[in-house]
């Protein structure tokens, strides 16, 4: 359930049939005035596919009138690795910003319902949990555990994916060591440069909540920089 697909909602401005369009199918709601099955003109289908690709909405003028072409996309996802204090602050902030969050930490004493009420939690190791999550360009991965055994397999999965943001908590020195270890797995500089470390925009904050703001700010910038 941590995955969902985007669809396009196609609605005429004037009364008429409405449609749901996804990558492979068109579903019509309502019928034409003549009572026949409603079909989407090719010209509009093109706009639907384009809107889906760009995750946007637009109004299109056609011979049949004006249509609103609107992508209804699942929320962006954030995978937080490490059930630490910063995670307790980052997760509610990310949810407010519209993210669906999954918390990964094999240390059951850390990732508890008590410390993370109402949070989706997995106690699997990242290398077990992450391959089936289909990390896509709507997904951010943040590693916070400070434990290389947990963080680094997660970073490996993230770098191999299309995740739009990858951030790793840790000092400059620790990050440099981490990159060296990841390089031995065969990742080149370009791949490793996708990892933001030290994590977050340099806002100068120190408390867990302030660091969470810096992380969410950097995620936001990455999301719209493309």
């Amino acid at each position: 359930m941590f995955q969902a697909r985007a669809v396009v909602l196609l609605r005429p401005v004037e009364p008429g049939a409405e449609f749901l369009v996804d990558r492979s199918a068109v579903t019509a709601f309502g019928a034409t005035d003549e009572g026949g099955a409603a079909t989407v003109p090719d010209e509009l289908l093109k706009h639907c596919r384009d809107a889906l690709a760009r995750d946007d909405a637009r109004t299109v003028e056609t011979e049949q009138g004006r249509y609103l072409v609107q992508t209804i996309a699942p929320p962006p996802r954030l995978i937080v690795v490490g059930a630490v204090h910063i995670a307790q602050k980052l997760i509610p902030m990310a949810r407010l910003a519209g993210y669906r969050v999954l918390l990964l930490d094999p240390r059951e004493a850390f990732a508890t319902d008590h410390r993370f009420p109402d949070v989706e939690i997995s106690h699997d190791w990242p290398q077990e949990a992450m391959p089936s999550l289909a990390l896509d360009a709507r997904t951010a991965v943040v590693t916070l555990s400070h434990d290389a055994k947990i963080d680094e397999p997660a970073l490996k999965c993230a770098v191999e994916s299309d995740a739009f943001y990858i951030g790793a908590l840790g000092s400059r020195k620790n990050h440099a060591r981490r990159l060296k270890r990841l390089a031995t797995l065969g990742f080149d500089d370009e791949a490793l440069a996708r990892i933001h470390g030290p994590i977050g925009l340099p806002l100068g904050g120190r408390s867990p909540a302030e660091i969470a703001v810096a992380i969410l700010a950097q995620m936001t910038r990455s999301r719209y920089a493309r």
């Binding site: 609605r11 401005v13 009364p15 946007d56 909405a57 637009r58 109004t59 004006r66 609103l68 609107q70 992508t71 209804i72 996309a73 699942p74 929320p75 949810r95 407010l96 519209g98 993210y99 669906r100 969050v101 989706e120």
Partner: protein, 115 residues
């Protein structure tokens, strides 16, 4: 995981649509307002939603709060009559003092009853 009905006025389109569905399932009469077009610096993009019930309760936003009042009034009419309305707002409107967009943009908002 922004749930429907959290009062988040910048919710994603899907969240507002879920709210519309939930309200309707609760037996409330519901109208859905959608930004159809924008010109200039309008605060919310095409596709932004406001869901309104017959009592004037609402979730979502179609502007930064500038025209919501007028959209809610129109929505009550739409719920009553079932006839959709295409509203346009801009600083040059007669109603400018009341519901103009302070930012100087113009927007069109489609209001339909959720059947």
């Amino acid at each position: 995981m922004t749930a429907a009905g959290t009062g988040d006025s910048f919710a994603r389109p899907g969240d507002v649509l879920r709210t519309a569905l939930k309200w309707q399932e609760e037996g409330r009469d519901v109208a859905l307002a959608t930004v159809v077009s924008t010109w200039g610096s309008s605060p919310r993009p095409v596709g932004s939603h406001l869901v309104i019930d017959a009592d004037g309760s609402f979730e979502g936003s179609v502007s930064g709060g500038c025209v919501e009042g007028a959209v809610i009034r129109a929505a009550k009419q739409v719920i009553e009559t079932g006839d959709r309305q295409l509203l346009s707002f801009g600083v040059t409107d007669d109603e400018a003092w009341e519901v103009g967009l302070a930012c100087g943009g113009r927007i069109e908002v489609l209001v339909v009853r959720v059947e």
